[in-house]
């Protein structure tokens, strides 16, 4: 295949990536700016790490981060279980009652505006509380349930897609050799699709960690997540600590993505050669 691209395409790519990255990079740069005005560079005192110290001592932000972390981890783990079950069912069972509904329910959250999902879940929790007394008030539990509901849709798509391209002969061979279907799943299928499960976990984690709208609807007093705290700060204008947060987030995400893709590339070579 001819890999040369026209000048037009190349410049579009360059400009496009510049568009994507200039804002991000500007945030990083200004996180080292001494001036409280953030975007006015204080050449005399910059670059400085003072806002980094400030952020890492900010109780409000640290508490919110801790809550976000708890919710994200539980959400990711729960979504992976639900999403894998749903993805497996949709990929492997040709026909079952409710297949159409399950398919619709796992693809709708992907495009639904968050204000609708957030509002509807809050109303559900309120109604449930009135009816059976649970959940008592909104907080981490309700947020986690809400997050899991939309995260599992993403995991389902990932697992369904991975299982569809999976060589079923491997599962059949295992059964042929005497393993029952449940055993086949845990001993053969799961280890092989593990990278997809890991992607699903990471995606669900990130979706939960970054979520603002649904969290706002379904959280309660004392359970503010990091995005909620950031939003309330940011509504008032720029804040240097937020720049620091952005830089730290970017660093972690980059490290994670690069690390995971290198690891996946190695595994993909193994899979390709074998399957």
């Amino acid at each position: 295949m001819n890999y040369r691209s026209s000048f037009f395409i190349l410049s579009c790519i360059a400009l496009g990536f510049a568009f994507l990255y200039v804002p991000i990079l500007s945030m990083v740069v200004f996180s080292f700016n001494a001036s409280k005005l953030v975007t006015v560079w204080d050449a005399a005192n910059s670059p400085t790490l003072k806002w980094y110290y400030s952020l890492l001592n900010n109780e409000e932000i640290l508490d919110a981060a801790w809550i976000s972390l708890k919710v994200a981890v539980i959400n990711a783990s729960g979504s992976v279980i639900l999403g894998t079950l749903a993805g497996f069912g949709l990929a492997r069972f040709r026909q079952f009652r409710g297949r159409f509904t399950l398919n619709a329910m796992t693809t709708a959250p992907l495009v639904m505006p968050e204000v609708i999902t957030g509002l509807s879940l809050l109303l559900l929790f309120v109604a449930l509380e009135q009816l059976i007394g649970w959940p008592a008030g909104r907080g981490i539990t309700t947020m986690t349930i809400a997050h899991m509901t939309f995260s599992m849709a993403y995991v389902t798509v990932i697992i369904n897609s991975r299982l569809s391209s999976f060589d079923t002969a491997l599962e059949e061979a295992a059964m042929d050799l005497g393993a029952r279907p449940v055993k086949v799943f845990f001993v053969i299928t799961l280890p092989i699709i593990f990278p997809a499960i890991l992607s699903g976990w990471l995606l669900a984690f990130t979706l939960s960690w970054d979520d603002l709208v649904i969290s706002s609807f379904t959280s309660g007093p004392g359970s503010s997540t990091l995005p909620m705290v950031v939003f309330s700060k940011v509504r008032l204008g720029v804040s240097p600590e937020i720049n620091v947060l952005a830089t730290l987030t970017l660093t972690v995400v980059t490290a994670m993505i690069v690390g995971v893709s290198l690891w996946m590339a190695r595994r993909a070579r193994l899979d390709q050669a074998a399957a």
Binding site: C12, S26, V111, V115, L123, T149, P181, V213, G237, V258
Partner: protein
């Protein structure tokens, strides 16, 4: 494929039952509740709405279905404007995303495999970084003493700062910026599967590159374009964060209206009615998206 009926109906049933019931309870039932509340009255109570079913006397149950909320939405021009504006903004943003994103997706799909992976990683990276933070970045760029104004002023191009923040312009920029990866990725997935030899055959038969693109590549990437567009358009209609942070008070988006009704005015029934109307508005697009996805996966198999 192994006939998993052999596992028995109970085995298969259990696997899908858990996610099915979960979604039924936490995804579908809430919508029914929203519908119900959209028909009830506001009340000064916790929760701030009157119950739908009320016991009247000893043996009769009265259902009060109040259409006031919907009537209110249709008569107050604010809401109609908000809906119309949301659709317009989402549509134009989708178009902008296509204009910027299609060449990018195309270029990545045609790149050498090693370069391609790096480029894909670069597209995915912003997607994994918080939307909130990325939108925040534009506040810093667009405000009166922000980066863009500072650079333009120091270069002498302008003498007074441009008002960019808290305008519809800022909102468009924010939406296009945030949703661009959502368009590039499905479009790339579609273009990557294309048989590039078709273009070479066309050129061999005398077709100019632009013609070949228009007649071959574009039609074949139709599913990718539709999928990507829906992934931008549908959530953009109900977008809240970006109008709230970048658009001014005049940026009337339905997501923001819903939020304000709910949190600021504590008008839960009205907010519910807004949600229901928004849902009705978007369902045809969602179904279109579903059918495009089904066609794409059927074609792949």
């Amino acid at each position: 494929m192994v006939r998993l009926e052999r596992v028995g109906i109970t085995g298969r049933g259990l696997v899908v039952a858990l996610p099915y019931l979960w979604l039924l309870l936490f995804f579908v039932v809430p919508f029914i509740i929203v519908l119900k509340i959209s028909f009830s009255d506001v009340a000064l109570a916790i929760p701030p709405y009157k119950p739908l079913l009320e016991w009247v006397g000893k043996n009769s149950l009265a259902i009060k279905v109040n259409f006031d909320n919907y009537a209110f939405l249709f008569t107050d021009s604010l809401y109609l404007h908000a809906f119309a504006n949301s659709l317009k903004v989402a549509f134009l943003s989708t178009l902008a995303c296509l204009l910027i994103g299609y060449p990018m997706a195309y270029g990545i799909a045609r790149a050498k495999p090693s370069v391609r992976n790096v480029l894909l990683l670069l597209v995915i990276l912003p997607f994994w970084t918080s939307l909130l933070l990325r939108v925040y970045a534009w506040i810093g760029l667009l405000k009166a003493n922000g980066v863009i104004n500072n650079i333009l002023m120091s270069l002498g191009v302008i003498h007074e700062p441009l008002t960019m923040l808290y305008t519809p312009f800022a909102m468009y920029v924010g939406i296009v910026y945030s949703y661009l990866p959502f368009l590039i990725l499905p479009l790339y997935a579609n273009l990557e599967k294309m048989d590039w030899q078709l273009l070479e055959a066309a050129e061999d038969l005398g077709c100019r590159p632009w013609q070949a693109f228009y007649k071959i590549t574009l039609p074949l990437s139709r599913n990718g374009i539709l999928a990507g567009s829906m992934l931008v358009f549908i959530p953009a209609v109900g977008e809240f964060v970006i109008p709230a942070l970048l658009g001014g008070p005049n940026a009337l988006m339905i997501g923001r209206v819903l939020w304000d009704e709910f949190f600021a005015n504590r008008a839960w029934p009205v907010a519910s009615a807004v949600a229901i109307l928004l849902l009705i508005l978007l369902v045809p697009f969602m179904m279109w998206y579903q059918s495009v996805q089904a066609r794409e996966s059927a074609g792949a198999r």
